[in-house]
């Protein structure tokens, strides 16, 4: 039975193809349209899944949409009723954006010439998240916690997963949402909603554990968010405008409460911003830990599966892990709305059709390498189109050469095999560098990715070395947990470190691996194992042989504001536009200095 799950029309559209419960292909629309968080119907992602699996559209037996559009419509209407007469702007925006294409899954499917006998099903938003977390997990039974902005009504759902079934138990409903709370502060701190949340998370460690931060926390708890013992929350709607207007917050009220205005996008970040970010992060962790405890109590399980946008908050995931509420935790790598496509498909297969779930002891995500792949012939064709200068090198020598160049301080684009599913580059669409080099973080942030200087990078570590270098030693194949560098690798902090400000803290060399050590010694690690990605593991191993360092800096292969590269064309274009030194695609080795096109060239014109 072939089932296609689709998430679309809000943000992060995606398509996933499963066959008899096995994940065959999964792609996000943004990677092909090159529009970050693209919400349009994922025609290109669907085609990519079909081509990848050599399946025709007519061979698909079932199409499943990841949420219920009418329920969502009903929630919007009820919100207008509840807030009348305040909701006029919200209604106007809603009606303005209304179109049949936006609200009808079936209407969009008509363009695809599907099999008329194909069944069309609808999951619900949080059930899709829950299914994406539980069914691919290695657990036979588990508590399932899904937390995000909002779906139809739910903003948080606690369920119990058993074998091939999921039983929803408790939920928090709109407008009380920890996801929207986090997004509201993301907005207030000058980042984009639905995409800048991880920037807030990255900014939080620059905050001081000071009275100011505690004041912020107290104010938020007293005025904005009441946290109940069981992790449920009440959000005081006087401070928010997402129900009644076209903004997240009431800026005037926020200003009166915190004493400073909403930060503008390019405004300099000051200590107030950092302290507030830390306060918000700590409160989110408090809520998540309380929710996890409640989930354990009502689902009565030692295992936890997590999904939903908030589950991408790796710091909060780690706090749950450290709290030892659960023995085992598994997080869906595409925890955001894209992952809903996978959950919808798996949910239909196991719950609706009642098909058995086979457990192997491992998760079923195949290392999250389930996206599009390009052969050497295809890569060569693309390179020739750009008149690129390249060498073909056998893998053994290629790995050795790349590791040597990394050790010499070069920054290398690494494009191999199947594209990652989810927002993290895990070694197939990555930019790599030596994490021991002092200024490499600034260089990659400013000259390669052209993004904010404060943002940290992650290390990919050979799995067997995690315990030696990090505490706690977490198994984190999808970069969804943070860990801290062990004491012997840290440098002693100077007096007055807390008062050094963002720039001072950023520039201070915090460990022997400064490029991947955040200001609080934390690191969002990826533990790499030989079975899941032998080539990438081999590269780190080679780097280790040369340098004695079992980790490399790994960041996503993209520019600021762009999605991760999907095709060889995207990769070459990104390579030429930035200051990367080398690009390795399949067996092809491309040196920047030899390229005809260097900077400021409109490579898009060469696309046809």
């Amino acid at each position: 039975m072939k089932i296609m799950g689709i998430s679309a029309l809000y943000h992060d559209s995606a398509a996933v193809l499963i066959e008899d419960g096995n994940i065959i292909a999964a792609n996000q629309e943004e990677r092909f349209t090159r529009v970050k968080h693209d919400s349009s119907f994922p025609y290109k992602a669907i085609n990519a899944c079909l081509e990848q699996s050599k399946t025709g559209i007519k061979d698909i037996d079932v199409f499943v949409f990841y949420e219920k559009p009418y329920s969502k419509f009903e929630r919007i209407t009820e919100t207008i009723y509840a807030f009348a007469p305040k909701g006029f702007i919200s209604l106007k925006e809603f009606v303005k954006g209304w179109s049949l294409k936006k609200f009808s899954f079936e209407y969009n499917l008509k363009d695809l010439d599907i099999n008329p006998k194909a069944e069309i099903l609808y999951s619900s938003h949080h059930l899709s998240h829950a299914a994406s977390a539980f069914f691919p997990s290695p657990f036979e039974e588990s508590a399932v916690l899904t937390v995000d902005g909002v779906g139809e009504y739910s903003t948080t759902l606690i369920s119990k997963g058993i074998k091939n079934d999921i039983v929803p138990l408790k939920e928090i409903r709109f407008p009380h949402s920890i996801g929207l709370f986090y997004s509201a502060f993301t907005y207030f701190l000058g980042f984009k909603v639905n995409s800048g949340e991880y920037k807030l998370m990255g900014l939080a460690p620059y905050g001081n554990k000071s009275r100011r931060k505690n004041d912020f926390k107290e104010k938020i708890k007293k005025e904005i968010m009441d946290i109940k013992k069981d992790g449920s929350i009440f959000l005081n709607q006087a401070y928010f405008e997402y129900c009644t207007g076209n903004k997240m917050i009431n800026e005037k009220k926020f200003f009166n409460l915190f004493g400073f205005k909403k930060r503008l996008e390019n405004e300099e970040i000051n200590q107030d911003h950092c302290d507030l970010a830390l306060a918000v992060q700590e409160l989110t962790e408090e809520v998540m830990i309380n929710l996890a405890r409640t989930a354990r109590d009502i689902a009565n399980s030692q295992n936890l599966c997590l999904a939903g946008g908030v589950a991408l908050n790796c710091v909060s995931n780690s706090k749950i892990l450290e709290s030892e509420i659960f023995k085992n935790i598994w997080v869906q790598p595409a925890a955001g709305d894209a992952g809903g496509a996978l959950g919808a498909a798996l949910g239909a297969y196991h719950i609706h059709y009642g098909k058995e779930r086979k457990l192997t002891g491992y998760d079923k995500m195949k290392g999250s390498f389930i996206g599009v792949e390009f052969s050497n012939d295809e890569i060569k064709k693309s390179l020739n189109k750009f008149e690129a200068v390249y060498d073909f090198i056998e893998y053994k020598d290629l790995v050795n050469l790349t590791a040597t160049l990394l050790a010499q301080g070069n920054i290398i684009g690494w494009f191999q095999g199947k594209m990652e599913w989810g927002p993290r580059a895990l070694g197939n669409r990555s930019i790599l560098a030596d994490p021991r080099i002092d200024d490499i973080q600034q260089k990659i942030n400013m000259k390669i990715k052209r993004r904010e200087g404060f943002r940290p990078f992650a290390p990919s570590v050979m799995e067997e070395f995690v315990e030696e270098y990090f505490y706690p030693a977490v198994y984190s194949p999808y970069m969804l947990f943070v860990s801290y560098f062990n004491g012997r690798y840290r440098n002693i902090l100077p007096d007055g470190y807390e008062n050094m400000g963002v720039k001072g803290k950023l520039e201070f060399k915090k460990s022997l691996f400064p490029a991947v050590t955040h200001v609080d010694f934390s690191s969002r690690i990826q533990s790499v194992n030989q079975e899941t990605n032998p080539l990438f593991y081999g590269l780190i191993k080679e780097f280790y042989k040369i340098t004695g360092c079992p980790m490399i800096l790994n960041t996503s292969f993209n520019l600021r504001g762009e999605p991760i590269v999907a095709t060889p064309e995207d990769a070459y274009r990104c390579f030429v536009k930035t200051d990367m030194d080398y690009l390795v695609m399949g067996n092809f080795f491309i040196e920047r200095k030899k390229q005809k096109y260097k900077e400021e060239i409109d490579l898009d014109k060469l696309n046809d």
Partner: protein, 120 residues
């Protein structure tokens, strides 16, 4: 015909139709004149600058937005606002959940049964 001219013709024809619709709705003769003018300009391929076409488009968009605003405003206060009172009376629990912090917990039992068949 160049791409720019094609684009201009397309905009002018759309404006012609748009102004005609406005004439039907508002019964103001000015709109039928503007409609005829737009169609005339598109048919005769009179040399008109792109800027002038854009001004015409801006006028149309302004009137369209104004009408849209009035329509939604009327809909809101004539229909949704009065209905909201009944909704509040009939759904007191839901209404309180939205706005009143008067409970020990905001976790609710999930009552709906899982179904994949419908969109509700």
């Amino acid at each position: 015909m160049t791409d720019l001219e094609k684009e201009k013709t397309k905009i002018l024809i759309s404006l012609g139709i748009g102004f005609a619709v406005l004439y039907v709705i508002l019964d103001k003769k000015i709109f039928i004149y503007l409609s005829v003018l737009s169609v005339f300009l598109s048919i005769t391929k009179t040399k008109i600058s792109f800027q002038a076409v854009n001004y015409l488009k801006k006028i149309f968009n302004f009137i369209q937005n104004l009408l849209f605003g009035i329509l939604i405003f009327s809909l809101y206060f004539a229909l949704l606002f009065p209905v909201s009172f009944f909704w509040r009376l009939l759904n007191k629990e839901k209404f309180c959940y939205f706005l009143r912090n008067d409970k020990e917990t905001f976790l609710l039992e999930v009552k709906e049964k899982i179904n994949f068949k419908n969109q509700w």
